[in-house]
């Protein structure tokens, strides 16, 4: 009797386990589709994680209310990477191996994405990241995709604007010594060299540095008329303030890291500075304003570039599943071939590497707010 009972239990158990694998692919069943989100939920930049999860949750709520994706509700599972590679590896492993998500959104930090993208690759799970470092899509990984153009594209557009529209000739380069800053400024340096306007000086600083007197003094000595800083909000704001304090009179231009938090911290010192972004809530474009309004109604705050990426990500997933179904291979192949898809942020055209196009906006701080001065389609 006991043997028979144990055998029955064993067969039932095996059947239940196998049925999960055989009948439905990873993360998808009759009623739900599991989407994983890994982001900076805790830590000094937790606000970024908050913006990201709010953007994603808004989209999930909208999609689920309208019936879900082909009748299936989205189950958004969120894990924290704290902005650190080791924590990120654990978080992503959990989402991919334990929760068995169908697709992974994130991380945002290039320094976390680069060492952890092998996990989704090995598990054949599509991964959509907002990270900017160009080398993420240069690893011949067929499962990685971007939610916004990479920093090589961003640098090209920004340098073009600086040379053509702002007519700058003597440019000094600054960057923060993390993956994002190093690869971003390298790209900018490359495009300046190609255009025959090499940088007059290149200095860098560490994440967490507070005093930039040395760097600014050297920049002043070089006679630069503009500074391009590939940095993150806190240091960028400190630099803006210290530029004023040390009597620098030229232009201050930054990469994507000069966001709303930067303006909040730098206050008056941010006036007249330029930044480049995938999205600005001040953009008068009606589609972007519609998103801004919905976000503000739901969360009582303005969306920023991070929120837009992940809101967009959910809708992108919806589009691909509706066209290609829930087979991960078909999802991946369809996305590689997706061209001219009009998303909220811009027009997405994917290539074999997973890069998504060239949409980007250049903004200038005027009276404490970002004003759009140039849009690249």
């Amino acid at each position: 009797m006991k043997i028979f009972r144990n055998l029955l239990l064993g067969i039932t158990g095996a059947f239940l386990i196998l049925s999960g694998f055989l009948i439905f692919p990873n993360g998808v069943d009759a009623q739900t589709i599991k989407i994983g989100l890994v982001s900076v939920i805790t830590g000094p930049t937790a606000k970024l994680g908050e913006d990201i999860t709010r953007g994603a949750k808004l989209a999930v709520e909208e999609v689920n209310k309208a019936g879900g994706i082909q009748g299936k509700k989205i189950d958004l599972i969120i894990e924290d990477d704290s902005g650190k590679p080791d924590v990120g590896v654990n978080a992503i492993t959990k989402l991919v191996r334990k929760d068995k998500v169908f697709v992974l959104l994130g991380p945002d930090y290039s320094g976390v994405t680069f060492p952890s993208m092998f996990i989704c690759q090995e598990a054949s799970v599509p991964q959509l990241t907002s990270s900017l470092a160009p080398k993420i899509t240069q690893q011949k990984n067929p499962w990685i995709f971007r939610l916004r153009p990479n920093d090589d594209t961003v640098a090209k557009i920004l340098v073009q604007y600086m040379l053509t529209n702002l007519k700058l000739k003597k440019i000094a380069l600054m960057n923060v010594a993390v993956e994002y800053g190093i690869s971003g400024i390298e790209a900018a340096e490359k495009y300046l060299r190609i255009s025959d306007v090499p940088a007059v000086l290149k200095v860098s600083y560490n994440f967490g540095d507070k005093d930039f007197t040395a760097q600014i003094s050297r920049i002043k000595e070089s006679g630069a008329e503009a500074i391009l800083n590939w940095g993150l909000p806190v240091e960028a704001a400190l630099i803006a303030k210290q530029l004023r304090q040390l009597g620098y009179k030229g232009l201050y231009i930054g990469g994507t890291g000069l966001d709303d938090h930067y303006v909040e911290l730098a206050q008056d010192a941010a006036e007249g500075s330029y930044s480049v972004t995938n999205f600005s809530s001040e953009d008068p474009d009606p589609i972007k304003q519609d998103f801004t309004k919905k976000y503000r109604t739901r969360w009582n705050s303005l969306p920023d570039r991070a929120s837009a990426n992940y809101y967009q990500g959910i809708y992108l997933i919806k589009h691909v599943v509706e066209k290609a179904g829930v087979d991960p291979m078909k999802f991946r192949d369809f996305l590689h071939n997706l061209k001219n898809w009009k998303g909220m942020q811009g027009t997405y055209s994917y290539d074999d590497n997973g890069d998504c196009g060239t949409f980007q906006t250049i903004v200038k701080v005027q009276k404490g707010k970002f004003n759009v001065v140039y849009t690249n389609p």
Binding site: A46, N206, K210, S217, R218, P233, V234, L238
Partner: protein, 285 residues
């Protein structure tokens, strides 16, 4: 350019010196390496932010309140955590102070959030031009405050009874208690003073470097180095060590490389210690 870097280095060096001073006071009085010293500065900055920016209390009042509360935190830290471990293994105590620093840092994040916040400039953010050098009023305030602090401590430790009592506890705990000095009270007071000193550094930093929860670790490391540089246990050594460290950092970043600023600073430190292992100043008696 040299003087520009010098002024900047003196200002940041004064901050390091003040934190190092608190750190050394605790070492002298209780033989404790206080890893939470940097967090006192972090808390001081946030307290000043709360009083000055959120509650609208005038700056000097906010400054004072921040110092008083940080001093109270220092006292409580000694009372709850250090005193019970008076006769414990030094390593145990060090790890405990590390634990306190984590509690303070995360507690601050819990209370004030994790975002860095701007602290308004109190003396005006327009620089004053002296010859070819641009001097920010804030830097002058920092340097001036430190000079007054030095004078104050000299008087306190040399001329007042409480100051002499603390010094005697530092020299020899047993004999001091035989002389009728309440050792626990003196050590508690030292922690309170160190807490207030740390907070003062944090408030002075705030308009320059924003108020954020992550400055604690960097500051305590710099304080430790400054204390070693000046001769571990010497009060004037700690202050001067801090100033030298600040100037070294700024000069190194300007004349050699800003990317390798920390590498340069620590390399010089290593060489200085090889040639003068007890630091630059000997601890008096």
């Amino acid at each position: 350019m040299f003087f520009q870097q010098l002024i900047s280095g003196l200002a940041i060096g004064s901050i390091y010196g003040i934190v190092a001073l608190g750190f050394t006071l605790i070492w002298n009085a209780a033989r404790v390496v206080n890893f939470a010293q940097g967090e006192f500065s972090m808390v001081g900055g946030f307290l000043a932010y709360t009083f000055f920016v959120l509650l609208g209390i005038p700056y000097y009042g906010a400054f004072l309140f921040a110092l008083l509360i940080a001093g109270a935190i220092g006292w409580i830290m000694d009372f709850l955590v250090i005193r019970p471990l008076r006769s414990a293994d030094p390593l145990t105590v060090v790890i405990t102070t590390l634990g306190v620093s984590i509690i303070l840092a995360n507690g601050a994040m819990f209370i004030w959030g994790t975002k860095a916040m701007a602290f308004p400039s109190v003396f005006g953010s327009n620089p004053v031009q002296l010859g070819k050098v641009m001097v920010i009023p804030e830097n002058l305030w920092i340097i001036g405050f430190t000079v007054c602090l030095v004078a104050f401590f000299y008087v306190f430790f040399q001329k007042t009874k409480a100051g002499k009592a603390i010094r005697s506890v530092a020299q020899d705990k047993e004999t001091a208690s035989l002389m009728g000095i309440n050792v626990n009270l003196m050590i508690g007071m030292t922690f309170a003073v160190a807490g207030a000193l740390g907070a003062a550094a944090g408030v002075l930093l705030a308009p320059l470097f924003f108020v954020s929860t992550d400055i604690g670790l960097t500051l305590v490391l710099k304080a430790f180095i400054a204390a070693v540089l000046g001769g571990f246990g010497s009060l004037q050594g700690a202050l001067l060590g801090g100033i030298i460290l600040g100037v070294l950092e700024t000069m190194g970043a300007f004349y050699i490389s800003s990317t390798y600023k920390d590498v340069i600073t620590f390399t010089v430190l290593i060489f200085l210690l090889i040639f003068s292992p007890t630091g630059l100043f000997k601890k008096p008696g």
